[in-house]
């Protein structure tokens, strides 16, 4: 579904990604982790073209994201993205947040969009807040709405950029539960940048470990945790698994 070949990226002279090659098959859940500054957020933003790449190729469902003149708006409507800071549109109600792109990008009718909106909000447990504004919701609530908003586009794959990093601890579980359900019940293809190792162990098929812009390890979840092959990965795991 998602394939990356030898992706390299520079900000000016500074190289942020070095020869990254990996893939996420249909229905797979891949967790991308690593120390801060390792380029994991940048990597995931390249998948839907939010960040351009200077070298390498990325294809999603066969379409080349990195090709010159690629129809990105079309592609993006098929990939859902959830951000660290939720990024709900503050000037719109929860309902309108979900309906906007459905109507304007997918061309659905208002009735269709609202029906889909209600279904998804019920699913993430936010149906009672449908008329509220993002400013009136807690972080966990906003992120669940954000996930529903991404799902409203009926995407073929979902990208998560540190979805729980900005949340207070007591709200992390409600968001992760939604994500676990998505992986297990819907069989959604997911690429998740996260530090939540519990989540990874529950649903991730593979773990990609990055450090300083390069993919250092790319192995099935259990193998990664039981026996990381690189020193850097061992070091990283020891630091985060101790609290």
């Amino acid at each position: 579904m998602i394939e990356m070949e030898n992706v390299s990226k520079w900000y000016g002279d500074f190289r942020v990604l070095t020869d990254c090659t990996t893939k996420v098959a249909k229905g797979e859940v891949v967790v991308v982790c690593g120390p801060s500054g390792s380029g994991k957020s940048t990597l995931i933003k390249c998948v839907n073209g939010l960040e351009p790449v200077q070298q390498g190729r990325i294809t999603v469902d066969g379409a080349d994201v990195t090709a010159k003149g690629a129809k990105l708006t079309n592609l993006r409507s098929k990939i859902g993205m959830v951000f660290q800071h939720f990024e709900l549109y503050p000037h719109m109600s929860v309902r309108d947040n979900l309906c906007l792109a459905q109507e304007k990008v997918l061309g659905r009718s208002r009735a269709e969009a609202e029906a889909r909106t209600e279904t998804l909000l019920t699913r993430v447990g936010m149906i009672d807040h449908i008329s509220k504004y993002p400013g009136q919701l807690s972080g966990g609530q906003q992120q669940r709405v954000a996930i529903a908003r991404a799902l409203a586009m009926d995407p073929i794959a979902m990208l998560f950029d540190e979805p729980t990093s900005a949340l207070d601890p007591e709200m992390i579980k409600e968001v992760l539960d939604v994500m676990v359900q998505l992986a297990r019940e819907d069989g959604m293809t997911m690429m998740v940048v996260t530090h939540e190792m519990g989540f990874a162990r529950k649903v991730a098929d593979r773990v990609v470990f990055m450090d300083e812009g390069a993919i250092v390890e790319d192995r099935p979840t259990q193998d990664f945790y039981d026996d990381p092959s690189s020193e850097r990965a061992k070091d990283f795991l020891s630091k985060i698994l101790n609290h």
């Binding site: 592609l75 993006r76 993205m81 800071h85 503050p90 000037h91 400013g135």
Partner: protein, 239 residues
Amino acid sequence: MNYNWNWSVLFEPEYFGWLISGLGWTISVALCAWVIALVVGSLVGVGRTLPNRLVSTLCTAYVELFRNIPLLVQMFIWYFAVPEMVPEEAGRWMKRDMPQPEFTTAVVALGLYTASRVAEQVRAGIETVPHGLKSAATAQGMSIAQVYRYVLLPISFRLIVPPMTSEFLTVFKNSSLALTIGLLELTAQSQQIAEYTFQSFEAYTAATVIYVLIALCATVIMSLLERQTRIPGYSGKEN
């Protein structure tokens, strides 16, 4: 200090009429110029934030040009110089047949000048919208036009209502410059009354009181607008 006070002179029908007429011109010039300023200023302000280099450079040039020349000079150029610089036909029309030349010129000059200030406010507003929101909208597959129309502009216009209040008020104050090209707006009329009656203190006080009332009205209107358009729970900062 020898001065003869006579406040009743303000209420004599003739002079009172002058004040009202002046007020009428002040309000007309200010409102018409404000409309031009909003339309042109919004376009130019958005233009400055677009990725297209040519457009953003032209818009920046507009802002710098109109911002760095005093309004008085601009007004004189529109009134005296432009009719001489355009083709004969247009020039003659401007000097003879154009209706209300002082009013029209004042509106155009004030409108385009204020537009450059509005453009800066609009630009600042757009740049204040957190980058993540633009990413979120782009990630959903919206085109640049859609991102501006549904996310960037609605949010930034709500954010800039407070500073725009100040610009709105400034337009009323700057309308006084129209007196230099012969428009008998409020300040000009108060000067007229002062010259005719020698009751300068009273005349200027009348104008001052009226301007203060205009300022109060403008502030009330804008704060009502701000309350109407406020986004619940949002102050424009990163969460």
